[in-house]
């Protein structure tokens, strides 16, 4: 069964402030003596107040300057991270685009390069039939080594970008 009283907040405020019963009005004291709810509130507030006062005297918190310093440092670090986040994203997107473009160019140009190499080989062979025996192996060699050539070209483009990427990543890690 719930039983509360309208005077509870007043009693709690007086008791928790250490003003009970010295600073309380006589009629309030008389009320608390006859009101179970207010009696509980006064007893608890006095107990909490005593606990608070004893504990406050012993609480040890870091100095204000130290807290300010730590908060400022952390805020700075978080701000720096937030500021460099778009750059990191842009770097990632750029790397992916370059790799994708290199693959696409290779895929698109591969058939035409292959046919051009074959055509060039046949042309050379047609000009001087006696060279055929010499040129034909060279033409087939050029056709076979084309993927290697393309791969080397792609590495030439990508290697500096990867070096730059890792260098920036290391620098970010140091921050």
């Amino acid at each position: 069964m719930r039983r509360d009283c309208a005077h509870e907040p007043e009693v709690a405020a007086l008791a928790s402030a250490g003003r009970w019963p010295q600073r309380a009005a006589p009629e309030m004291i008389a009320h608390v003596e006859n009101c179970a709810a207010c009696g509980d509130v006064a007893a608890l507030a006095l107990l909490f107040g005593a606990d608070r006062d004893a504990a406050l005297a012993r609480v040890s918190v870091p100095p204000a300057g130290q807290v300010w310093w730590r908060v400022a440092l952390r805020a700075r670090m978080e701000d720096a991270q937030t500021a460099t986040r778009p750059v990191s994203w842009a770097q990632g997107v750029t790397g992916a685009c370059v790799a994708g473009a290199a693959c696409a160019i290779g895929a698109f140009t591969w058939p035409s390069l292959k046919s051009t190499a074959a055509y060039a080989g046949s042309l050379i062979a047609g000009i001087e039939p006696r060279w055929l025996d010499t040129v034909a192996p060279l033409a087939s060699l050029a056709g076979a080594s084309l993927p290697l050539v393309l791969g080397a070209a792609a590495c030439t483009i990508l290697a500096p970008l990867l070096v730059l990427w890792f260098a920036l990543a290391a620098e970010r890690g140091e921050k």
């Binding site: 509130v41 107990l47 005593a50 609480v59 918190v61 204000a64 300057g65 908060v71 700075r76």
Partner: protein, 188 residues
């Protein structure tokens, strides 16, 4: 912020800009901190039931407080906002580690050397033990109401409750605590 490195310390020379980052000057913060840090720590320790957690939450509370861009009507509003951040941090912690019981606040409550009155110490130990057995929200409510003397409206705002609901919840928490204290005294 964990342990600071030499590199962090080297950066301190440029930390003067911090005042531009926060909505408060260092001088104002020092005054505010000196007024609020101890009651806040005590609230965090009593509401969470863990003194070590209170140390961490104290730093985090001030960090979030300083990072917020809010205009405060007066010191009371500012103080209420600070305690609300602390309350939310306790809630977040509880959500992340619901089974964590934490250290006992008895270490703060009981100090026989400090207090000559053994009865008072025993009552404070009873209170600490009884508080440990309450729900975190009940601990917060009771501490705010009876240790800090907050009004029902203030407690409701701090804990994110309706004032009407708070009265009933506070009544139930008080009844539970009274019963637990009665058991404690009977057990002695």
């Amino acid at each position: 912020v964990g342990e600071l490195t030499v590199r962090d310390i080297e950066r301190l020379g440029t930390l003067d800009e911090a005042e531009q980052t926060f909505a408060m000057t260092e001088e104002a913060f020092r005054r505010f901190y000196d007024e609020t840090s101890r009651p806040l720590w005590l609230y965090l320790a009593r509401a969470s039931g863990d003194a070590r957690l209170a140390d961490d939450l104290l730093q985090e509370t001030y960090y979030r407080f300083l990072r917020v861009r809010t205009t405060f009507a007066d010191d009371e509003h500012r103080r209420g906002y600070l305690f609300r951040i602390g309350t939310n941090l306790i809630k977040d912690h509880r959500r992340r580690a619901p089974r964590h019981v934490g250290g006992s606040p008895e270490a703060q409550a009981a100090d026989p050397v400090e207090s000559a009155a053994a009865d008072r110490v025993a009552r404070r130990i009873d209170l600490a033990r009884a508080m440990e057995r309450l729900k975190p929200r009940e601990r917060s409510m009771l501490w705010l109401a009876y240790a800090q003397g907050c009004s029902h409206a203030e407690i409701a705002a701090l804990l994110g409750l309706r004032t009407g609901s708070l009265k009933a919840l506070l009544f139930r928490a008080r009844r539970r605590l009274t019963r637990l204290l009665g058991d404690g005294e009977a057990g002695r």
